[in-house]
Symmetry: D3
Subunit: 312 residues, 6 copies
């Protein structure tokens, strides 16, 4: 078989009798395959030393055993310009352009009436802009795609806008600020490359987690900007409580309505994402496989398509 693949991870390993080989995970949009290069040339070795996502052209033999595939690589080389390969075909990305989504979010910020919250959110967005344009929202779960974090925030803001009209006692600006900042320290919790692929959690991510990291960051920036203490505290509380229960990482439950809403808006957006994804590969009238991120549920795709709704 011959094909173009993205190198999702690579490592030199040794067999028991000390033969060195290159162990790869190759991927395209449809999935991943484990591959092994048994003859490592100096060229290949050098090529893989650069820690960058790489597209390669590969020739080899695929074997199948008990449902798992393995790829024994015979030839491998980097993609060349003349191959005319578009990396976008190999990486899952959000359905909107990062720049567009960032701009959309900035419009919500601009609409804020509370200048302190606006300043706080703006500063953190600016500091984060570079990574934010490509970071996913997770390593494996919902929105684990290029630009996924931006997409998650933007969609949540749309819901936040509606709900703050329906529940008019809500402090809308506080809700917006909470939505924008709740997962921002995922940028510090995970190491992701420019393709939005997470290799691992950072050490601080492992030992503290994005919730605590996010609180420290808001605390520092609010302090620098002289934001009123209560507002800073409320945002920190919203970050702390957004997983709702201790078992999922929130030692305090939501204690203001905006924190409660933030939790549900977050749940809705992640669950709709995961369900859509599961149903996209399910046939009508059938159930999906069990979906780990949905608590091991299976989901059903109805045979009846919704009839075209009229405008209300």
């Amino acid at each position: 078989m011959i094909g173009f693949f993205l190198v999702k991870s690579h490592a030199i390993k040794s067999t028991n009798n000390n033969t060195r080989y290159l162990d790869l995970v190759l991927g395209d949009k449809t999935g991943e395959i484990n591959a092994k290069v048994w003859e490592i040339t100096a060229e290949i070795e050098q090529f893989f030393e650069k820690d960058e996502p790489i597209l390669v052209k590969v020739k080899g033999l695929i074997t199948e055993w008990q449902g798992k595939l393995q790829f024994k690589v015979e030839k491998i080389r980097p993609v060349l310009p003349q191959d005319q390969i578009d990396i976008a075909d190999y990486v899952q990305t959000a359905p909107y352009e990062p720049a567009f989504m960032y701009k959309k979010i900035m419009q919500y910020v601009a609409a804020m009436g509370d200048s302190e919250l606006e300043a706080l959110v703006s500063k953190i967005l600016e500091e984060s802009k570079e990574k934010l344009l490509y970071y996913p929202a997770a390593q494996k779960n919902h929105h684990s795609i290029r630009g996924g974090l931006l997409y998650h925030i933007m969609t949540m803001l749309r819901t936040g806008e509606s709900l703050s009209q329906i529940y008019s006692n809500i402090n809308r600006d506080l809700l917006y600020a909470g939505i924008i900042l709740h997962d921002m320290s995922k940028l510090e919790e995970m190491d992701a490359n420019k393709l939005g692929i997470v290799s691992d959690y950072t050490v601080e991510g492992h030992l503290l987690g994005h919730i605590v990291q996010g609180i420290k960051r808001v605390d520092r920036v609010a302090d620098e900007l002289g934001v009123c203490q209560e507002k800073s505290l409320l945002i920190q509380h919203m970050i702390l409580a957004h997983h709702n229960v201790p078992e999922f990482g929130s030692p305090k439950p939501p204690m203001i309505p905006e924190a409660e809403l933030l939790h549900y808006i977050d749940m809705i957006d992640s669950r709709m994402y995961d369900m859509d994804k599961a149903l996209s590969s399910t046939e009508e009238g059938a159930l999906s496989e069990r979906v780990w991120s949905l608590g091991n549920r299976r989901v059903y795709k109805p045979m009846n398509k919704p009839e075209k709704p009229e405008a209300t």
Copy 2:
């Protein structure tokens, strides 16, 4: 003390030495008090035989012990026209007129594109209309006020409308139908009087519960109307799964996106209600008492009022 009160419950009891007395719970909008009438005249007895909510004028002595109050009634009589008492001042009611809310819900129904779902929902609404105009949504928890169930449904529909625009894969009509029907059998699960006060659960309510009662009802009506089986099944599933987890009464988790959304829309509406209620009697900068229906949380009322949001 002399005052007008609503009789929330009444019973003839006996003391150890066989003195008969009338045990009352009297209420107004601010709360309840236990009252005892030690001299029961034939007049009083006859008056309390009618099992209807009644307004009374009472004179008596309030005593306090260890923080609990008790009211020893000396005189009691029904309210007379010349007292010019408005029952609305004694009963908590939804902020909109029942007829208005019912009409609003019917507009959502009318906007449905799916004629089968429209017929199903319309029929059940019609059958239920009489009780629906005054029933609360619960005995003690969220929306336990006159017209509370209508108010709960109407607000949820507003959220459902927004979310079906944001998540456009959603079958909007199915979501509307689920919202309207999810708690409808609370009308059969609880016994409530015309003031929206629940005296108890019905026997069927105890032994089956509104979820199972609701499923049976949808099953029957859909059958009568010849609604396509899958649609009926999906609605029944949405009712079954709307409490999300077995511990709260849903043996099956939501397995279609509309069922998942229904759960969260329900949670949001009940939580916003309970939080608003808790905060309404809390001072700024302080925490409320523990709120049982919020999992025994206390909620915080910020000192900073939200700044007037501009229109977005």
Copy 3:
């Protein structure tokens, strides 16, 4: 290797490089093996189109890897009359004849003093008779054998008979009715073939489950027969509560003694079945493997055989 096997499932699949193959699960009484047919002839394809359990004669090569076996099929053809193969040797069945068990159950029905319950149970048994004669009680757990559901009901009735003598306040007819109907909608929850092998759950089985399906059925039939409402409600409650706790699918706990007994009679029968099965392949003085359906327990088979009990 050459042998006769039952085809437990079959599907046409493709390898990565688009070679089509037939993927089979072949079984006999001792277990199952995965088999692959790499050369699919028109004959074979046609033969597998009929969705019926089939006995085949197979020749091929068994390979073993890491403890799992795989069967590469070289020749395969349907069993012919001259092969003189008895399907009963290939399928696990209950130790009594279906007709005998059905008749035995009908004797319990006939002994009922309550004519309404008798009518209700009789009608549902009749409606269900055809499938009931071969359905198992589960896909994988206890009584997942041909005729398993009948066998489960019959044995439970024997225990119910004894217990209603020991606990004489019990409404015996109600208990019998609950025993007979508690799992009846497994016939609608699962798809099983005539050999009692379950291929999958039905869509309604997935979205509602046999408990809710059973309640709807009792509700409908009781209505048709004009059974008194309380009796119908009590049976529905017994079905609803027979798993005892929400985590196992019963949103309401047993609230009448008959429902409580039903739960324990059900547990005893399923546990005795699973323990007997586990011990049948265990040596004396040793422990079985872990048994998933017994909560991952291991069970012990004593060295001492029970001494012959005298009649009491």
Copy 4:
């Protein structure tokens, strides 16, 4: 008020300003009342020094406050022969004579075919006979009545007899032995007087509990009698596992079918007892109060009485 009462507990206490008074719990079959004797004569004091259950004649005043009654004693004296009071009217007892129940159990023992188990059980029954004739099976829960433990064992043996006929692989003698011994060390776990009223747990009962106490006892007696080690071990295991799960005191789950059956027979007998008791004070068509020992459930008493069953 004047009446005869059983003294269920008594203690000399002091008020804040050092007035000594006698604090009593007085009871009859219908319930209990707290009573206080404010003037303690030497006579009264002496009379209460003997730590024996006593019947008294009391005169005094009952007051009611917030639903709780209190009894201010004016006169109190021991019951005299001429009062012609029968203590049986003041104490709840099992519906059969202790001697009858003991004899019934001995018949099951005599029917055992396994002489070692018979010897083991006989010896422990003999050692325990004196206390067994009046001990309850619990301080507050099921069978907390005079002779309750005997009654519990006898009824369980009846069920054990039936089930060992239905599930014929069962080692009946082992099951009988387990039933008879499973709760025997309640005699050592609790301190009860001759009326079957438990004052408290013993220290060893607190620190080890009747399960561990029972295992040690079987171990010792089996050793003395030279019972085969495996049989002794199986009985000990049955005692250890009879609460089924760690949360209820069984660190090991049942690992032989007889242990599994023992658990369910125990559950059935205690649940039927508690339900009967709850329903005995409930009206037809109504629900009982919440019952703590039933996991805070309410139980329902149907309006329809069971129709007279014919003999099967």
Copy 5:
């Protein structure tokens, strides 16, 4: 009754018929009593306006009802010098002088070999010294006494010293730093007066909690001092993980041995404190009441006193 008491809390309240009264909680070392002053003079009112702990001389009448005492105050005045009352007799305090304990802790700090950790800990101790000298470690649980936090830290350091000798791979300085800082932000989580009595949690304490507050503080001070990032991170992790499991407030489990030890040293010190306290009011050979902070356990006080151990 006449006596001297500490005013633990005080509030002006109104009865139903609008009589104002002063509601007090009065305490001494033995416990608390609720007291009411029905005639509030201007003098009394003014005297209670100062929000300071106060000793008062009180005359009044104690009444008892159903086991609860209430104190109707007739006369009340502040303690005067001539009363010669020592406040130390009214407040529970640690068994060592605050200054001594603080010095002891500073000796552990001085012994640190790691100058960065030494600087970090020293700075925070200095910043906190004033409050640390009198703060308790909790509002109600273990070490809720004047100087309780210092006492808790000092004892834990002694254990930490021993364990770092036994488990020599441990980074002793890191362990010391963790012990000293783990509860330090209780100073910010709770409002306590100079007597070590906690009136309430602070708003930040409610919304974030001392664990998150402590992490932010270490983060800030380490930053100011230029402490190496990994060291700061490890201390923050130790604070985050010291409650061990999410349900008790630690979203991350201990991931370094020093964090694991910190948790157990903390548990040992609090449990020994609570058990000692419970046993101090228990008789030999008896069990204590249930102790809420010990998970509702009762503890036993043996009759046998330990024999004098020889030095090892």
Copy 6:
């Protein structure tokens, strides 16, 4: 490949087509490998009949598939004297000599002031000495090495010594006795060979477990020696409660301070062991793999080495 290995388990098995082969688990200090001998000579068969740990010399081929290795053995023979192989190189052992550790423990015993406890502990140690010198403390978890149980006890005694100085109300001798005896019946719960390798649990170990076994043993020996009943009871309680919660096998929680301490000393020693082990194969600045015995946690190895602590 040619090498020397320890035979950790061996069994004759058959393939589907009835070829017999020898299935081995071979190990050295670095790990284990599955091996198969396809040609079984009479010599080999005889050699493996002796159920003793054996060292073998093996020649064969290692193959790798999906990360798992398998060893096809071509030649195999027992180790001969001339091979000069030291078994100690093939088995993990405690860092101290068994005789040294035993002697160390006896010094703690000798230092006891309480002669009854000393006698009790001495007798059980003597009875157990032979197995104690090589038994591990577990089959797979902490201290599952040769001499692991002795090592566990000795280290715990060191901690017990320190803590009984810091918490001086503790009955030191009781604590020592509890530490020495808490796991002693692991000698009866597990079958281990002289290399400290556990093949399986004993039947009594499965059905009762080392906690109950240990209690029975203390009960018996204390009885024989005439130890005062309360002391015996307290030791039995400490054994019963040392896992702290029912879910981990302790039906009673610790009810004396010595039992509470025993639990924490046990936890500390096992956790430090497991963390050290996990970190020994982790690089600085990195996280370990998930460790099952640490509740699936990963642990972190800091880059900063602890600076040399001064003596305090």
